[in-house]
Symmetry: C2
Subunit: 434 residues, 2 copies
């Protein structure tokens, strides 16, 4: 059904862009790779990756490099009060709203050279291709580099007016508070409201990013059409049994909190595995108390994380886990308590029209594609609350990310840039207007 509709829609709306894209040169794997390598020098570490945490000297130097490129490409560059870099290319029709696209260049500590960077380099590539074709779009275009993505989507939260005031006092990996970090980037932490983009003020937002999973890589698919960014909920799970002497307490008289925790861990895995859908549920942290080899654990504290594209599904998964936990507690003579931790991450679907536009652009270039959720968080989830938002994934080898071992081939990066160009042109030609 969806595919049928996609083709019908494509016929009506993307036809103009499709034809037009033929006039543009293809994205250059060599140029993109050269820019990735140039960017990799800022904060380079011994493992071949980067330590370019937000607000660090490496981040500041990397941003200067990108600003320079933007200026060479003819963009008007400004820093908004949230520290986001925005490079603007004027359109032919002054009354139209901007089409924004981009990503981030800050890294986690011990990060790699592709997470975020590929999205920024592909956005610049789109400008290069437009310049080469001498094409001026109807809408203004804005290439964005969000500030401090890895530290909690800070720049995009400022842009949508949703950064909590308390977040400003958080000390980032750079050693600076987020407040001081924003200011050191050229933002203005006292006037964050000035950076806020009102709902409806943008025409659309598109982010290209490496997949950070192995789905595309293993299936040898070139383009991921992101259906949305999953929501995340965290709980602390506390299992109380009874600590006792591991030598003198017979097996059938134990209320072993770790045995109950083991059953719950398997139940959590099973619920997520067997329920139809692509939800995930993970126990990543566990501690048994008192934690001695010769004492039966009296208490276990462990984490539970649930992610899905739909809030209702997340609630369904948790309800099923809670029900099984009650049975396990009953059968093991323990009590099990779930404490919800506020991680404030709701699922954000991408715009269904943009999914179809991206898919059509991939088809147009002859690239295989696949609809998929984003299991990781991205700035796009913030922008999705104020404007039609789409996301394009390119394969990452082995699904590795947040590691110096991240890798996306120049060919895959260029494919992504082609699809990003096709998408921008389709939007510019009115593909979102029906």
């Amino acid at each position: 059904m969806t595919r049928m509709f996609t083709l019908a829609f494509a016929f009506l709306a993307v036809a103009a862009a499709a034809a037009q894209a033929g006039e543009f040169p293809a994205a250059s794997p060599e140029r993109m790779e050269a820019r990735i390598k140039a960017l990799a020098k800022f904060g380079a570490n011994a493992a071949g990756g980067v330590d370019r945490v937000a607000y660090s000297p490496a981040d500041i130097a990397g941003r200067a490099y990108i600003k320079g490129l933007m200026q060479e490409l003819g963009l008007e560059v400004r820093i908004d009060s949230g520290g986001n870099i925005i490079g603007r290319r004027q359109g032919r029709e002054p009354d139209l709203r901007s089409i924004m696209f981009g990503s981030h260049i800050d890294s986690v500590p011990g990060g790699g050279n592709y997470d975020g960077d590929v999205g920024v380099v592909s956005a610049l590539e789109v400008i290069d291709l437009l310049n080469a074709a001498g094409h001026v779009t109807r809408h203004p275009l804005e290439v964005v580099v969000f500030s401090n993505e890895e530290g909690g989507l800070v720049g995009s939260l400022v842009m949508i007016g949703a950064l909590k005031p308390a977040a400003l006092d958080v000390v980032s990996h750079s050693g600076l508070t987020i407040r001081d970090g924003i200011d050191i980037l050229g933002g203005d932490s006292e006037r964050l409201a000035a950076a806020v983009v009102k709902p409806g003020a943008l025409k659309a937002f598109i982010e290209l990013h490496i997949e950070q999973g192995a789905i595309l890589d293993e299936a040898e698919i070139e383009i991921g059409v992101v259906e949305g960014i999953v929501g995340i909920r965290w709980w602390d799970v506390t299992i109380d049994g009874f600590a006792n002497h591991a030598g003198t307490t017979p097996m059938n008289r134990r209320r072993d909190a770790l045995v109950a925790a083991a059953r719950l861990t398997l139940a959590i895995n099973q619920v997520a595995l067997e329920m139809p859908g692509r939800q995930v549920a993970t126990v990543g942290r566990i501690r048994a108390e008192p934690g001695a080899p010769n004492v039966i654990p009296g208490r276990v504290v462990m984490s539970l994380e649930v992610r899905d594209l739909e809030l209702a599904k997340m609630e369904q998964v948790f309800a099923e886990i809670e029900m099984r936990a009650a049975k396990i507690a009953d059968q093991t003579g323990t009590s099990i308590r779930f404490d919800l931790i506020d991680v404030d991450s709701h699922p954000e679907p991408t715009d269904p029209r943009l999914r179809r536009i991206i898919a059509r652009a991939a088809q147009m270039y002859g690239y295989s594609y696949r609809l998929m959720p984003s299991g990781a968080g991205h700035d796009a989830q913030d922008l999705a609350t104020i404007t039609p938002t789409g996301m394009i994934f390119v394969p990452s080898r082995g699904g590795i990310s947040h590691s110096p071992r991240e890798f996306t081939s120049p060919r895959h990066m260029a494919n992504g840039a082609d699809v990003l160009l096709g998408t921008v042109l389709a939007i510019d030609q009115g593909a979102l207007d029906n």
Copy 2:
């Protein structure tokens, strides 16, 4: 079968002691309770228990109190070079070997008033009863207070010549090394060989102790006849899977080390629970790496402890666990490795004749009894390597030990002392000589 044999044996050998015991006054619950309370003052803590770790001023003061009692009771008191207190009562026949009985008075940090203490107080009670009856045994009697039981059975290991030289450098809870601790008690760490008792040099050894399990308490049985002290083996278990992003890695592509660890934890529990016998197996400590709620654990390290009265059974339990681990590793795409940790604790059965003698003594006094293993370690396990050894358990409320909440009623202590007296008299009358 066993019970039949016990009665037959009792008829032949214990008859004399049985008759004789009638001439003795019964143990005094009041006197025993008063001595427990007096001892509780040395190292008393706010929780109502004691911090009387070996070699501490509280331990030294408590020992002085016991030595004083021994002297009041007419015993010849000496400290052997291992710091053990030995109070000797001469027998009628100078060529006979000593019957030794006793326990320890040092505690764990935050310990209670019964673990060890009840064994020492009941040994003194036996002397009191013999004195009251004006009875001199054929064999010399030796009441022993072993040094530093809680720190690794130090005094009894010295006595059997098995303390490893490296142990002398271990820093005990008192802050002193074991070497300095032995010396501060009046021992002589340079001449430990002088304390060694050769195999066969004692007639027998009997230790009375609180059960430290809830078996007697819950079944309302008065006396535990200990079949032996279980052996203990420890392993570090390492499960290697593959750490990955908890958001982007689908459930069916995970190699989650914690899911494998959960399955193994349940398998361990099941093997120990379902195999016939009284073996126990425990996972008391667990750590997942990297240990973040949003990362699938790539590695889990956990402890495994197995205890049983028979080495062959311990090996059988481990073999079954190992077999199941291989299956789990195979099914979960992980590897599981077991590293044996040297805890050097072999099972030590008590002397079967002494089990029958103790059971007969309990019957003689009209106390209910039950054969049972000791899941905890005791000095008796060391003495068992050089002399026929027996152990008597008395109930501990709720099985609690190593806690200020330890409690054994005066009545149960006195019952134990009666049985200890009956056992000593039976041995003295030749019950071991057939």
